[in-house]
C-alpha cells in the first residue's frame, strides 16, 4: 500500500499546507474539531502533537498548549483515539508529533503499532536525531509503512546533512531558522539559502516551517518547497480569535499558495 504522504507529493506542482494541532488543547473534542476544520479549509497534512511535559523544541505558544493539554489529563492513548476518529472524518495524511520520552516509555514497537492503528502516515520526533537509538521504533515504523520524518536545519554539517538525506523518507522537515517554534518576524535569508542547498542535493519533498505566520510568507515559499508548515501562528489565532480565524487564514494561504483545491 502506498503511504498517503507519497501519494500527496507525487503531484509536484502545488505547494501544500501542513498544520499543527496539540491534542487536548483546550480539550480533545476541540482539537478534533479544529483539525477537521483545518482539513476542510485547505490543510493538506496535519501534525498532531501528543503533549509532553517538557517540549524542548517548542516556543511559548506550543509549550503553553502542551501544558494545557496535560492539565486536562490528556494521555497518549487518548491522543491516538482522537487521531483515529480524525482519520475517519478526513482524508489528508496525518502525522504524529511528540518527544522521544513518550515512545521510549511505551516501547518503540508498541508506539509504532499505535500510530498504525490510529491511521497515521508519519512520525516526527524532534529530539530524536538519526544517530541516537530508540529501541524498536524505526524498524517497526518501516514495517508498517509509516515514514519517520527527519528534520534538517541551517548550520548542519554537510556530512550530517548527506547522511540524513540518505536515511529520509516521505519528506524532509526543514526549519527555516535555528530556534524554537513560534511566530518570528519573517523568513531569514539564511533559511532560504539552506533551502536552496538542500534542494540541490535531493529530490525528496521538502516541508518548510518555523516562523511562518502570514499568507505572503506562504506565497514567498511557493514553488520553492512542496509544503509550508504553519504551527504556532494557528494556535495563537485559535486562542485569540477562535476557529473561524484559523479557517479564514488557511483559505487565504490556499489562494496565495495556489494549492490544489480540495474536494472535501
Amino acid at each position: 500500500m502506498t503511504n498517503p504522504i507519497d501519494t500527496l507529493f507525487n503531484e509536484r506542482n502545488a505547494t501544500r499546507l501542513m498544520t499543527h494541532v496539540v491534542a487536548g488543547d483546550p480539550d480533545l473534542e476541540s482539537s478534533l474539531d479544529l483539525a477537521e476544520r483545518m482539513a476542510r479549509s485547505g490543510a493538506d497534512l496535519i501534525e498532531i502533537q501528543i503533549p509532553f511535559s517538557d517540549p524542548l523544541a517548542d516556543g511559548p505558544t506550543i509549550m503553553a498548549s502542551n501544558q494545557k493539554a496535560l492539565d486536562n489529563g490528556t494521555r497518549p492513548e487518548d491522543c491516538f483515539k482522537m487521531i483515529r476518529r480524525l482519520r475517519e472524518r478526513v482524508s489528508v495524511p496525518l502525522l504524529v508529533m511528540t518527544y522521544a520520552n513518550i515512545p521510549y516509555r511505551r516501547g518503540g514497537k508498541r508506539f509504532a503499532g499505535e500510530c498504525a492503528a490510529a491511521g497515521a502516515s508519519g512520525v516526527i520526533i524532534p529530539d530524536l536525531p538519526w544517530d541516537e537509538p530508540l529501541p524498536g521504533l524505526r524498524d517497526a515504523l518501516r514495517n508498517r509503512g509509516i515514514h519517520f520524518i527527519h528534520l534538517v536545519s541551517p548550520g548542519m554539517s554537510d556530512d550530517r546533512l548527506k547522511t540524513v538525506l540518505g536515511l529520509a523518507s516521505g519528506f524532509l522537515y526543514l526549519t527555516l531558522r535555528v530556534g524554537t517554534t513560534g511566530a518570528a518576524s519573517g523568513i531569514e535569508p539564511r533559511g532560504l539559502e539552506f533551502l536552496r542547498k538542500v534542494k540541490s542535493l535531493t529530490r525528496l519533498p521538502v516541508a518548510a516551517g518555523f516562523g511562518v505566520s502570514a499568507p505572503d510568507q506562504v506565497k514567498r515559499l511557493k514553488g520553492r518547497v512542496e509544503a509550508v508548515i504553519i504551527g504556532s501562528h494557528l494556535i495563537n489565532l485559535r486562542r485569540g480569535q477562535g476557529v473561524e480565524a484559523v479557517e479564514s487564514f488557511l483559505h487565504l494561504c490556499k489562494s496565495s499558495g495556489n494549492g490544489r483545491p480540495r474536494p472535501e
Binding site: 524542548l56 509549550m63 522521544a100 520520552n101 521510549y104 529530539d127 536525531p129 548542519m156 535555528v178
Partner: protein, 412 residues
C-alpha cells in the same frame, strides 16, 4: 589531532537527544573541550584561576568533634563551601568559562536552582568580561533570594522562569531554548553532570579536582585512602567530582544522598532511585527520571533548591546499576538536623544540599570502626539559605525581624 573518539554513553545512559539544530553547537563544544582539556596552556591557566580566584585547594578538615559525637569512624569534611562564591560550582564554571573564551563566545548563560551555579557563572562572566544571563525558576528565586541579589550585583541578568514547576528543571529548559535561539555568540554553561553530550563528561572532568585533592590530602593525613565517600546528589556534579578519581579503588565505598523531601508520594521528593524513577529521555540525555507511567515528568520537592530536580547524571545512573555507587535519601527534617549538628559541633554552616550528606554521613559513621575514615563533601556553605533555615529553625525571631525591617523607614 589524534584524540580517541569518546562514546557519548555511560553504559546505556547519556547520549545527545537534541533537535538537529543544536548538534553543530554541541559538536563544536565537544571538539573544543577535547582539544583544550589536555592542552598545557589551558591547564595552567585553569590551575592558576582555581588557585588564585577560587581559592583552591580547599581544606580537607578532620572533624574531630563530629567524629566524637558520632562515636565511630574518623570523619573528614571536604570544604568546597570555602571556595569563592561558596560552592563547588565554581570549579566547573571556571573550566567552561575559559573554554567559552577560547571559543570566542561573548555571552554565558546558565540555569540555576540554589543560585550557586548562577552566582559562580555571574562571577566568572564579570571576571572574563562576558555578558551573563541566568535562568532561574520563580520558586527558586524566592527561596534563594540572596543569590539573586548577588548575581545582579555582578552584572548578570536573572531571568525568572514561570513555566512548569518553576524550579531547576524548567530553568534548564529555558536555558536550552535560549541557547537554541542564540547559538552563535552564546555558551551554555550547564551546571551539573547532565544534559546532552559532552556536558556530563565535561562537568565531571572539571569537578574531579575535588576527588584528586582529597586523594592527595588523605595520603598526607591518613596515609591511606578513605573507606567511604559521602556526597549529596542533585544533578550529580559534586558527588561525581568527589567519587570519580576513586572509582578504580574498589575498597572505597561511594554513597550518594538524594533529597527525600516531605515524603515518598509523587511530587513530594526528588529521589530518582525510587519507584517513580524510571529510565527516560529528557533535556538531551537518557537517564533515570521521576516520571509517571506515560512518560510525563513529575514535579519534585526538596527543602534544598539544588537537589530539587527530576533527573540525574547519566554516569551516576550507570554507576548505580554497576553497583559502584550506592544511593540513600535524607528528608527535609533530617537535613535541617544535619545542618544544626554541623553548626553545633564544628562551627560550620553547610548549604542545605550538603546538610543532606552530613545527616547521612553522621548516621553511617556508626557502621564503621574507629580506624576507618569517611569523607563528606561539604559542597557549599549555608549563607544563601537564610530565608529557609531561619524560618524553619528560628521562625518567631526571624519573622519578627522581617516585619521590623519592613517598617523601618531609613537605611543604615
Amino acid at each position: 589531532m589524534n584524540r580517541r573518539k569518546h562514546s557519548r554513553y555511560f553504559g546505556p545512559y547519556g547520549g545527545r537527544f537534541v533537535p538537529e539544530m543544536l548538534i553543530p553547537a554541541l559538536s563544536k563544544l565537544e571538539e573544543a573541550f577535547f582539544h583544550f582539556r589536555d592542552d598545557p596552556g589551558f591547564k595552567n591557566e585553569l590551575d592558576r584561576l582555581l588557585r588564585t580566584y577560587a581559592g583552591r585547594p580547599t581544606p580537607l578538615y578532620f572533624a574531630e568533634n563530629l567524629t566524637h559525637e558520632s562515636g565511630w569512624c574518623r570523619i573528614y569534611l571536604k570544604m568546597e563551601g570555602l571556595t569563592h562564591t561558596g560552592a563547588h560550582k565554581i570549579n566547573n564554571v571556571l573550566g567552561q568559562a575559559l573554554l567559552a573564551k577560547k571559543m570566542g563566545k561573548t555571552r554565558l548563560i546558565a540555569e540555576t536552582g540554589a543560585g550557586q551555579h548562577g552566582l559562580a557563572t555571574a562571577a566568572a562572566a564579570a571576571r572574563f568580561g562576558l555578558e551573563c544571563k541566568v535562568f532561574m525558576g520563580e520558586v527558586d528565586m524566592d527561596r534563594q533570594y540572596p543569590n539573586v541579589f548577588f548575581m545582579r550585583r555582578m552584572g548578570a541578568e536573572v531571568i525568572p522562569v514561570r513555566e512548569g514547576t518553576r524550579t531547576l528543571k524548567d530553568a534548564v529548559n529555558a536555558a536550552l531554548k535560549y541557547w537554541i535561539e542564540h547559538l552563535e555568540e552564546t555558551h551554555y554553561l550547564l551546571g551539573s553532570a547532565l544534559g546532552p553530550f559532552p556536558y556530563p563528561l565535561m562537568v565531571r572532568h572539571f569537578q574531579s579536582v575535588i576527588g584528586r585533592e582529597v586523594k592527595r590530602q588523605m595520603r598526607k593525613l591518613e596515609r591511606r585512602p578513605p573507606d567511604v565517600l559521602v556526597a549529596c546528589v542533585g544533578g550529580g556534579s559534586n558527588s561525581l567530582g568527589l567519587f570519580h578519581p576513586f572509582l578504580r579503588q574498589k575498597s572505597v565505598r561511594c554513597v550518594g544522598v538524594e533529597a527525600g523531601g516531605r515524603g515518598m508520594k509523587p511530587g513530594e521528593h526528588a529521589v530518582r532511585f525510587s519507584p517513580d524513577g524510571r529510565p527516560g529521555i529528557l533535556q538531551g540525555y537518557k537517564s533515570t527520571f521521576l516520571q509517571d507511567e506515560y512518560g510525563q515528568v513529575l514535579p519534585t520537592h526538596s527543602i534544598s533548591a539544588g537537589l530539587d530536580y527530576a533527573g540525574i547524571s547519566p554516569e551516576l545512573a550507570h554507576l548505580r546499576e554497576r553497583g559502584r555507587v550506592e544511593f540513600v535519601s535524607v528528608d527535609d527534617r533530617q537535613a535541617l538536623e544535619g545542618l544544626s549538628l554541623l553548626c553545633r559541633t564544628e562551627g560550620i554552616l553547610p548549604a542545605l544540599e550538603s546538610a543532606h550528606a552530613v545527616a547521612y554521613g553522621a548516621r553511617l559513621a556508626r557502621t564503621f570502626s574507629r580506624d576507618q575514615a569517611m569523607v563528606i563533601n561539604i559542597s557549599g556553605r549555608g549563607d544563601k539559605d537564610l530565608f529557609i533555615t531561619a524560618r524553619a529553625l528560628d521562625g518567631e525571631n526571624w519573622l519578627e525581624f522581617l516585619s521590623r525591617e519592613l517598617s523601618r523607614d531609613q537605611s543604615y
